[in-house]
């Protein structure tokens, strides 16, 4: 399985903390094409530690493309050049010997840099806490099959629900807008019968908090969908807009 190694030049963003000014540091690596991008960074870190130098801080967890923890901007693209995957699934066979690779953190006002390639994405959780749920108490629920849901609807809800919350949509958007992320949750619940009672309240609260955190607005360039590791569709943004207008017209909320 071990193929011939390839030689690369990495330019990695290093930044001590949120206040300090960052810059690129160059690393020359020789890596197996079967290795993943993050394993390559592990190797660099192991070498740095051997020299008692501070390793590159970056986040990752499941390394299966589902937890949403990892996220690097590689040559200007969140999660790198291959569509529909997270950074952890990017393998070095997608690069050529001699390539120069720039590695930057996700950049947005709402995602302040913590250290090196690690950013604070908690604004996304704040949006979720504002209304991204269905209010049911434990055990106070009907049988799972009590309400039939058409297969297509369940499937469409699943398309939206599979968002991994990585923030690549924000990182990719020229406006650092979180519309794809927020709309995925709004859509999932707007589609399902269980989500109906709080339908309008939900979209109003979530959009309000989203705006407070300084995400930009949507210019419909669809970079978010192109970079989303799960291919969450911009149709969800359209649906959220629709939900929002309906909410504003129909809800009792005059705030």
């Amino acid at each position: 399985m071990e193929h011939k190694k390839i030689n690369l030049t990495l330019k990695v963003w290093r930044q001590q903390n949120a206040q300090s000014k960052g810059s690129f540091t160059e690393y020359k690596v020789s890596v197996s094409p079967d290795s993943s991008f993050l394993e390559m960074l592990d190797d660099i870190n192991n070498d740095l530690e051997k020299k008692n130098l501070e390793p590159i801080t970056f986040e990752s967890d499941c390394r299966e493309g589902i937890c949403g923890t990892c996220g690097l901007v590689i040559n200007g693209q969140p999660h790198g050049p291959i569509p529909r995957i997270a950074t952890c699934q990017l393998h070095m066979r997608n690069f050529k010997d001699g390539d120069i690779i720039y590695v930057e953190p996700f950049r947005a006002k709402a995602f302040p840099i913590i250290k090196d390639l690690m950013v604070d994405r908690s604004a996304m959780d704040r949006v979720m806490e504002a209304g991204g749920f269905i209010s049911v108490n434990t055990l106070s629920v009907p049988d799972g099959n009590a309400i039939p849901i058409p297969k297509e609807i369940a499937s469409e809800a699943m398309d939206a629900a599979q968002c991994i919350g990585c923030g690549a949509c924000v990182a990719a958007c020229k406006n650092a807008s979180a519309m794809l992320f927020v709309s995925a949750k709004v859509s999932q619940f707007a589609l399902l019968p269980q989500g109906q009672p709080e339908r309008y309240k939900r979209v109003e609260s979530m959009v309000k908090v989203m705006d407070e955190y300084g995400f930009g607005s949507c210019s419909n360039t669809y970079a978010c969908e192109a970079e989303c590791p799960k291919g969450v569709s911009v149709k969800n943004i359209a649906r959220m807009n629709r939900e929002y207008f309906m909410a504003k017209v129909k809800s009792q909320n005059v705030e």
């Binding site: 051997k50 990752s60 499941c62 390394r63 913590i114 749920f133 799972g144």
Partner: protein, 636 residues
Amino acid sequence: MIKLDSKVPEGKLEEKWTNHKFNMKLVNPANKRKYDVIVVGTGLAGASAAASLGELGYNVKAFTFHDSARRAHSIAAQGGINAAKNYQNDGDSVYRLFYDTIKGGDFRSREANVYRLAEVSNNIIDQCVAQGVPFAREYGGLLDNRSFGGALVSRTFYARGQTGQQLLLGAYTAMNRQINLGKVKLYTRREMLDVVVVDGAAKGIVVRNMLTGEIEKYSAHAVILATGGYANTYFLSTSAMNSNATAIWRAHKRGAAFANPCFTQIHPTCLPLHGENQSKLTLMSESLRNDGRIWVSKLKKDMRKPNDIPEEERDYYLERKYPTYGNLSPRDISSRAAKEAIDDGRGAQGQDAVYLDFKDAINRLGQKVIEERYGNLFEIYETITGDNPYQSPMKIYPAPHYTMGGLWVDYNMQSTIPGLFVGGEANFSDHGANRLGASALMQGLADGYFVLPYTIGNYLAGDKPTLVKTDHPEFEKVKKEVEDKNAKLLSIKGKRTVDDIHKQLGRIMWNKVGMGRNEKGLKEAMVEIKALREEFWKDVNVVGDSKDVNQCLERAARVADYLELGELMALDALTRNESCGGHFREEYQTEEGEALRNDEDYAFVSAWEFKDVGKWELNKEPLEFTSVKLATRSYK
């Protein structure tokens, strides 16, 4: 010697939980807000417990070392969740789910716990549907099911290949609702480094703020640990990079007994290793075995491409050895069968791998159906390996995946430290010596939604509402100890990196405390681990300081704990002179190479009590079976 009281209620198996719920003490609704509960970990068990306790009115403080509560490794569970709904009319029932689970666990779990798990399984599905979890459905709009290993009924509910994700997001949103209502306070990027025991009861925790490096103290009336398993002791496992044993291990060192540490699950369908710098192993869902056929060549050292090997030269060894269950044989059995084939020199193209082939299924059902069922898994496979599984069979190999062992808990999920409760994979309670597929999600949510909220109430009803303050001398003492330990790690400044030592530990564990274990190897492992631990404390290099983000320090603290836990795993395996489930002692096997269980001498839970580093005392909780007959597990 700890007194192990399982507190299993009296009465018939079917009535135990109902009676117990009635007999439990209740907290006056107006008083609930006077009680604080700490939940460590926000995976399935933690988030669901935090949400349910918040709903009941308790003040919950939830802790996660992640940046968000949505990242726990429960999210990576692919295949599904079991429930005894019998929606398929194929003869399923609570009793059958109970029986399959206890049999799957090779009769090494506590009967009453397993029955309760099966009993509440149906509630979980209802709960999740109501939360908006988009389970797969049939055209009529009703919930769809599929089959999993170790069962002859279709009882697994799923959401594409992302069931764990959807269930976790369900629990996460339920918890978010409580955060929104102010009943749950979430602390992210905090890693629990110790539990604080005051007057014999757990009263709080000490955590490291992973952004500032500060050691923080939090107090409560009860503490729940839902911090997952310890498969990362093997370095290479399907666990997430940050999954670790530190929370349960430090609790163990404060007095919580550790049960059945050697019961680890090696999952049969993972992607094989690609090289030295591999950071983790990737699981391919067991659901693939519904349609995929597992085989190796009949010839040794067969280097031909899989598609060039004619049908009659292929050995579909699971179908051959276990005709009833075939490719859906339980995980421990399938993994061992793969190991046997590879040890016999019949691995795929000479590698440590076997084939998982979809050719027949594609011919029978068409590529489109296979794409619908497993499309995303096939994509993952192709992304990682660069091979197209529609054209040539997948190569798979077993990998450490789940740990059935964990902190010992009684029927109330309380550890041997009063007030310290343990849920999910972190406890040992429900899976015995082997866990069936799609049962981990079931157990995590059962503990969090339907068990802990009751039993915690019962405990708190007997506790005073006054909260121990965090300036209590015991808190100060524990904090100081944690700080000293971190300072020690940072001061060694040796030559070896943390990962380097962890990898070495992983190799020892995999080779000697892995799929096949024997006395000689286990004894060697214990010596080697001890030596490695000493080397670690002399020669590790932890770069940086503790004043801000320091991932190197985080890893070092975890590896320090693995180096103690690994030894206990080996010791437990050495002590258990039988083969059962995931624990296969080569000395104890039948002539056909099947596990040879010894119910006479080993029908007990090993609950290890910590005495000092490298020193434990064994306590035994006898396992009594009243409803099931102990039988040799047969999947033939």
